[in-house]
Symmetry: D2
């Protein structure tokens, strides 16, 4: 595997991811529009670049972590895009969560220049990024996936190959759409129990050991004081923000629309999360959807 | 604990449950409107009674397993009801899945005659009843629960105490409402992946190891041929029928209505299962809701 | 037609309805648990009774207007019920909005004593009751309907015969379930227009003249300042309270449950109105559901 | 006003619209990829053009009626686009139903070349197009709207100015989203009545005169044999196809997504129409959603 990496996009997620690469001995050129993030990485051994183009100069692997599809499209295919700057055989790993259509468009355009591209969105949040325990869900050629895997293992724990180009984005968005429904339905079931006099902890335990079992009951109970150290027991601070779930549900609805998929549950969760955000809870953890059912 | 039990209601569930009691050495008087079920149990050592009243004569413990709340109300509080036939201190274990209101009404009426009553609905289906691996979710006094537990362990594996009278019914219906949403949302997420070119098995594996994890992905995948030996891979035969889930969702909606609970997800699942049944799929396993999303 | 009426239940609706009967020259005995309402009617010529039983003494027609099904059942079929007090051939007009099951039960029980019963729920609210412009939606024998019609015309403008016993309740609840959806969907469509830069008045005018036309756009626009003199332009004061719509949607869900009807739209409106009420808006006019879509 | 018009896009809608212009004495150059439609118009006095570019040569007004946003974008802004072929001050009237974003993009691009553009989607279907009774909902400068109005009056009856560029598309899609909910909710309310023994005609009449009144009850009852001459009474043949409503709901969801609008009712209608189409009913009239509630 190669030695010279470029990392572009050093936000809440990108910065700790890049740090983990440096910790694991990778040589890294970094670029972000914000200087302070770059300066912090220089202290860990990174080389600060003046521009994205400068960052990728001589790089064998390029990793990007950007907020939305338009940024990714712009970075690679825009007027000053990397499309024409990258060397043949460079491996591009885009870790942004974007629509699969853009991922495919970028990947296919780069392929024409013999540049390898995989879409590799993550889950696990800022905590997972810092701890190096992210999950990567990858779309693209199996050979490219195999090349990327050891690199991704510097930043994450579970590395999945979901399928061809764009499949990483699709799988992530299917998972997060499902998660939004699990959280909402678990919240409403627990509240219905409480409304009928049950102890939420007792009910949660029963459902966890029965057919209602799901990730939110295991690790992320939305009802305050059922579990310790979850956002629900810390006034819904920390965790995965409502507005980020709203963004993912927006991508899910776009995906469903393009593929003519029928998603009544996802669409309802989308409406409820939008409502919840509109009522001023966009910055709370997404388990705060529990509030919508209290009365 | 006592030795003389009465078992009333020997349908698909009651019959194998009674068998397991006999296997474990219990003395059993049995009654059902259908003779054949009683005859089968006589072969296993049961005493066949002419009526419910005859069956409970001399019994210390009465177990009932009936289709709906009206039957339970009728059995205990009707004109010929057991209310006035049971000895003081008899323990009544009603395993029927009914509304918690009726469970409370019956329990409170029996309490006036110093008869102990717990509501103990089960999950696990016909298979679990035969194997003696049912889950019992019990409402009632802790002391009565403790008396019932060793008896229930002859028929089941997990025995939960959910709370006071009626709490067993509430907890079960919360769980099953949640389950109906898990199944529906998992089905729509998998189909959205398939619509975008993903392999349903690969996507299911990824979600199972991610935050979309839930009981249906673990044990009961709704997409044909992802798992072996689940109804989805056997033309949705066997398992838990759509019309039984529809019944449980009806109870959930009634419960929500009485407690003013807000259950948008459960209500949507209720509509979708009713639609699915109306389209002729009432006898299929409930994972067949997957069909609603195929196109 | 007869001359001696009894009127039982003199709340916000019953009081102005009884006044209109008095204005139209009817002889009225009245009863309510609250004295002041009776006193007010005495000033208009009514006879104040000590009890419901006393009120119906000698009456040919009994009109009742009570909050819920349990009250109606209690009044007619309870221990001190009118069932055994009313003369043969008395015409009972119950104007309460209750479940059709109770309406049928009461009507059938009275029929055994040769007492005529119709269910005649109203729409039009307190304003319509005062103005004598209520709509009555009646279930029961056509002959009984014909007898009641001239009496109801003292209190209302539109008198419909919906069908047999209970049909008045069913038709009213179908209408109000539909209304809740019209209001909610109109609100969300207008807000979507506003979100895209449209003037809500212009958009409302266009939809009113197009296939989106409905009663709310005609008479009751939910967006502030599109229409004068509607609750939306008066901080959602007055009109038909959210909590009353919530009550009607509860009846609709109960009706749907009993008849196995599939009502996804009504169920969603039910969830949204419950949510809206839980957020502290139960006393506002029901067009305030518009707030749920603002952001 | 000018005399020389070009009409591009002569499908089910465009063809009868162009005929009406010819009937009203307009001089028309026409173009479509399908020859037969042009030939039919030549018989009515049109000039057949070899290409879109040829059709607009010398035209003062260009009218287009195309299936989707990509076609409109391609026609005006594509490589061979009319953008650089149209004379300064040409008035472009695009009658296609497309997303408002594309309408704005095209209008703004043409404005740079001093070409006037309005988006003018229609409602009223093939019948309205033939009869010249379409409704036009127009976005763009008021001055351009005023210029277009007499031309549109050759083809339609109601001509609305919804607001700035793109507002025609927004207003139309708000209206049609609302319509889809009216139809679905009316269908479910009528079926709930029927499930409870009511006559659908009687119930429809009552709701039509009550607060459930809406366009579908007035003109387009979804229950068979309640109204004559509507699709519901002709096996759901004719009218406005399910798949066209599905297309419009897709645009509505896209619009909502872009404007962060909260549309739970529209989203549910979208899911139900997709389901209905997936079950093989895409070619039926959209009032056939009634079938989803029958059981």
């Amino acid at each position: 595997m190669n030695n010279h990496y470029a990392f572009i996009g050093l936000g809440n997620m990108g910065l700790p991811m890049a740090k983990n690469l440096l910790k694991n001995g990778c040589h890294l050129s970094v670029f972000d529009l914000v200087d302070t993030a770059m300066d912090e990485l220089v202290a860990h051994g990174a080389v600060k670049a003046e521009s994205a183009v400068a960052a990728v100069d001589g790089a064998d692997v390029v990793i990007s972590m950007l907020p939305a599809g338009t940024h990714v499209q712009q970075l690679y295919l825009g007027e000053q895009g990397l499309q024409n700057k990258l060397s043949v055989n460079t491996l591009v790993i885009d870790c942004s969560t974007i629509d699969s259509h853009t991922a495919k468009t970028v990947g296919q355009a780069l392929a024409k220049n013999n540049i390898k591209f995989i879409d590799a969105p993550v889950s696990g949040g800022v905590g997972g990024a810092a701890a190096g325990t992210l999950t990567f869900i990858v779309g693209g050629d199996k050979a490219h996936f195999d090349m990327a895997k050891p690199i991704l293992e510097h930043m994450g724990k579970n590395i999945f190959h979901a399928g061809d180009l764009g499949a990483g984005q699709v799988a992530k968005i299917c998972n997060n759409m499902l998660l939004s429904v699990l959280m909402t339905a678990t919240a409403e079931a627990i509240q219905m129990g409480v409304d009928n006099g049950l102890d939420p902890k007792v009910l949660s335990d029963i459902m966890l050991q029965s057919s209602g079992r799901n990730w939110t009951l295991e690790l992320y109970n939305p009802c305050p004081n059922v579990m310790e150290n979850v956002p629900a027991s810390k006034n819904y601070q920390g965790g995965f923000m409502v507005d980020l779930m709203k963004k993912d549900l927006g991508l899910a609805m776009e995906t469903a629309s393009n593929s003519k998929s029928i998603t009544p549950m996802g669409a309802l969760a989308n409406s409820l999360y939008k409502m919840h955000s509109a009522q001023g809870h966009g910055q709370l953890d997404f388990s705060s959807i529990f509030k919508l059912f209290q009365h």
